[in-house]
Amino acid sequence: MSSLTGAGSLPPLDLTRAPEGGEIGPVQSGWRLAVREFASNKLAVMGVGILLFFVLFSFVGPVFYHGNYLTSNLAATNLPPGAGYPLGTNNQGYDGLALLMKGGQAALEVGFMSAVIAIVIGALYGAISGLAGGIVDAVLMRVVDVFLSIPFLFIVLIVAVRFGASVLSLSLLIGAFSWLVPARLVRGEVLTLRVRDFVAAARVAGASQTRLIARHLLPNALGVVIVNVTFQVADAILYVAALGFLGFGLQWPNQDWGDLLSNGITYLQDGYWWQIWPVGACIVLVVMACNLIGDAARDSLDVRLRRR
């Protein structure tokens, strides 16, 4: 036993005496503080509310609202909102509200799936790179540089044209190109964390390698990852919309918001506003909600920014 670990030399703590400088409040975990901080941010709560609304709207909505989006109905094309069609119909006679719900499913599914793929790849890659250091780290980071220099939308478009777009293929494709930023972030975190005093202290106190990673490195790097997930979701939803708008989006019977919008543009001059603005509002609201949540999460996880 080295003399450094000789804890027996300290006098026993006197628990009956009040600490100097007044009472100490109950110790709370960092995560609970972060959640409380997050919940006190009105914009963040609004973001969560909007996102929850769209999850319910897209996935639970169709259970209660049965609009037609599968068979064209030429007797009811381009109807304005009214009885039976709360958001009107499009040029095929599809129900506007039902299309919005269907498109919302695709947007949220691709958004979350691609974000999870990107984060898992990115966190592993970044952690390996940061822990390995040296030449391995240098090579792995140059690979990231290479991928970051590729105009990613072009590649996604080319692959989507060749192989067709589905929820799964788009998620894989977007995820496969979005792990670069999380990889850099996690690597940066691991690099700074592993030389920090609290890690050294934990090591001196006898913590095992597993405990170091699980209790000290990961929870501290996780904040960055969580913040990044929300921005990834927002970006992926915008990518899907762009693909749909250019006409290379999901195939019928799947619908995506960008495709609905580009359909509506044909009738812009005819004043069929219900085919454009509701979809546009949906895209903006969901993306904005993700950005609001991301900003608030970053503020609440960053101890220095916390308003005490």
Binding site: R142, D145, V146, S149, L153, A234, A241, L246, I283, N291
Partner: protein, 315 residues
């Protein structure tokens, strides 16, 4: 500093080779040979094999890559079998149009975002700051085409001030003076960049405002106007250089969508048409050029920052 620049250029060349190999291999895997386009859909397999052999499309892909890159350095970007024209001449016809659209909006957005961000940082948490943040946040969440659509609806269809289409003129000078047609595309791209840049500029200016040298210059009695111009603007604008370098892929994507929406015949619309026709040589060449622009942009940004900021030079 010369050593740093040389090293930085070396890294860029290495990255450029990595990127070109990846893009070439990917597109080659997707589309091995244009034989069908040239010989027609009813060509038999023997004919296709013979054509592939004559034109080197049955060589190992790495050999084809080297040959392609060799041609590239001689300015030969390949041949568009769909448009029966060399890709270089296709790009030569339209690149200036895209450069004008993207360049004008980039310059405008920097000219707007820097003063706006500084105004927001100096007057933070006032009504003006909140209003600008709200607008920037909404624009930031907006797809390019939606913003363009809103502008078309309001300014072209309702007010009849501007055209809903980009300029169809063929010479660059007449496009530049055609503000009736070019205002909306340029404003679309500008507003989107301003949304991103001004948020960044605001936080950068807030960081600088908290620095000691700002306090010192105020304490020694320098008028606030001079504090802002001499100390704040120059220091707070430095990160913008890096940001612009990093945002080139986003600018190219925005350019593609804006040109498609406004039917403005530039590189973006050419790429879009090539996607519809599956014209792979155009797709390959433009993707490679996009990657090249990104790498050069990052390089220029890094070098410019080193020149502008002595603290980096010393580090």
């Amino acid at each position: 500093m010369i050593g740093y620049i040389v090293r930085r250029i070396g890294t860029s060349i290495a990255v450029l080779f990595g990127v070109s190999i990846f893009i070439f291999a990917l597109l080659h895997a997707i589309y091995p040979s244009p034989a069908i386009d040239v010989l027609g859909p009813r060509a038999d397999t023997a004919l296709i094999a013979a054509w592939n052999k004559d034109n080197g499309f049955d060589d190992p892909w790495i050999l084809q890559y080297l040959r392609y890159m060799g041609h590239l350095f001689q300015g030969n970007l390949g041949y568009s079998y769909k448009l029966n024209q060399s890709v270089a001449s296709l790009f030569g016809e339209v690149w200036a149009r895209s450069a004008w659209l993207s360049g004008a909006s980039l310059v405008l957005s920097v000219l707007i975002a820097i003063p706006l961000g500084i105004y927001q940082a100096v007057r933070r948490n006032t009504i003006g700051d909140y209003a600008a943040t709200t607008v920037a946040f909404s624009l930031y969440a907006m797809p390019v085409f939606l913003l363009g659509l809103i502008l078309i609806e309001v300014f072209a269809l309702d007010l009849h001030v501007f055209s809903f289409e980009g300029s169809q003129a063929s010479s660059l000078p007449s496009i530049i003076v055609d503000l009736h047609a070019m205002t909306l595309p340029i404003v679309t791209l500008t507003l989107l960049s301003v949304a991103a840049y001004s948020r960044y500029m605001r936080s950068s200016a807030m960081d600088v405002l908290a620095q000691d040298y700002i306090k010192v210059s105020r304490a020694k009695g320098l008028p606030e106007r001079l504090v802002l111009i001499r100390h704040l603007v120059r220091n707070a604008s430095l990160p913008m250089v890096t940001l612009i370098g990093l945002s080139i892929p986003a600018l190219l994507a925005g350019n593609l969508i804006t040109e498609t929406l406004f039917n403005f015949k530039g590189l973006g619309l050419l790429f879009y048409t090539a996607l519809q026709n599956v014209d792979y040589n155009v797709l390959l060449a433009y993707t490679l050029i996009g990657a090249l622009l990104t790498i050069v942009g990052n390089l220029v940004a890094d070098v410019a920052l080193t020149v502008a900021d002595p603290r980096i030079r010393l580090a």
